[in-house]
């Protein structure tokens, strides 16, 4: 009982602080970092993952059964290079795929309402100034202006050049999908909570604690120093290369 109360308390206390959109300063820093990693205008990468639900009631079995035939709930996550979670949406039945998930996600509503992403930032791609920030996604996501996915069949050198950093940067969220259950094993093993609400609370708690840890550690990650050195060494050149590929096909990011 005390554990449940503790979970509730953590979520109530820190959800408004640790699971929210980045403020302007953070967005600016993220843009700088991603520009140095040859993907200007990127504010994180997006993906979904499943958490098995052991105590799923039989009546909900059909709804919660995912494509791998086990019962689960879906988590939609956006994270940056440090694996800081900027968007965490949990609680949808496992039968939903990434697209259905996006349609009911608060992130999508924010984008549709025009609240997010912020329009006050501009970045330069291929000699042209653009203002629409985007998330990196994989191929299933629709071709919206705020999503940038791969070229499915890259042929030209420009496409290949673009695909490479896109894949490399999208590893961030894939890493998160591995690192979050690895740190908090509650997400690794099938959840034994009786209700979806409890599962959601526990998932959010794990995300909040993870963000706390990342916030503590952020400055000391090796990649920061390494990337800063690399960026200083060859600044400008990879950004231009990525810009070529980007403007070539992904099109109207304006």
């Amino acid at each position: 009982m005390a554990t449940k109360k503790l979970i509730e308390f953590i979520v109530e206390e820190w959800e408004p602080v640790y699971l929210r959109h980045p403020n302007d300063e953070r967005v600016k820093r993220m843009l700088e970092r991603n520009a140095a990693r040859s993907m200007p205008g990127c504010i994180g990468s997006l993906d979904c993952s499943h958490w098995e639900w052991a105590a799923c009631p039989k009546g909900l079995a059909g709804q919660y059964q995912n494509r791998k035939k086990w019962r689960s709930i879906v988590m939609e996550m956006v994270c940056d290079e440090d694996l800081y979670i900027w968007h965490f949406f949990i609680g949808a039945p496992g039968s939903l795929n990434d697209l259905n998930m996006l349609r009911i996600s608060p992130l999508y509503f924010d984008v549709v309402e025009g609240v997010w992403p912020p329009k006050s930032f501009s970045f330069c791609v291929n000699g042209r100034s653009r203002r629409s920030l985007f998330y990196l996604t994989d191929g299933v996501y629709p071709k919206y202006p705020f999503f940038v996915s791969l070229y499915p069949k890259p042929i030209t050198p420009a496409e290949n050049i673009f695909n490479r950093p896109q894949e490399a940067l999208r590893k961030d969220v894939k890493r998160l999908c591995g690192a979050l259950p690895a740190r908090f094993h509650i997400l690794l093993h099938p959840g034994r909570f009786g209700s979806v609400e409890q599962m959601m609370l526990a998932g959010k708690m794990a995300a909040i604690l993870h963000n706390m840890v990342v916030e503590q550690r952020r400055g000391r990650y090796v990649s920061h120093a390494r990337m800063a050195a690399a960026a200083a060494e060859r600044y400008g050149e990879p950004a231009a290369a990525a810009g070529d590929g980007h403007a070539g096909g992904a099109g109207d990011v304006d």
């Binding site: 009982m1 503790l6 953590i10 840890v213």
Partner: protein, 133 residues
Amino acid sequence: MDAFTDDGSGSSSDDGRGQSEGSADELLAAVIGARSLFLMRLHRRNAAQRALRRRFVGSVAGRRANRPRDFDEGMRGIMPDYFGVDGQPPVHGEETFERRFRVPRSVFMRIDDAIRDRPFRRQSTNATRQSQA
């Protein structure tokens, strides 16, 4: 007349049925009674077992008694090992702390400070008047 005949016929028919099927009725009643008694006992036994099987039942009479092991030993072990008591540094370092508690010490202490006054943090006392682990 009508009423009387009705009553008479009714009573006579009742009597007749009672006399003709009396033994069968009694037998039936006895069977039903025994069966219901049996079911009631079964139900009671099931209920008792269910009560014993209930998960968050705590310390209840009739369950297996605790062995006289040293309950406080765990707490006495954890505090100096990971947090340090009486100004002593903890036995295990930060890395081990994070491995065992899944978050760094600073995050742990921060949450601990936040929940310090909450009712669910208080150590409760169980039915045997010992502090609950």
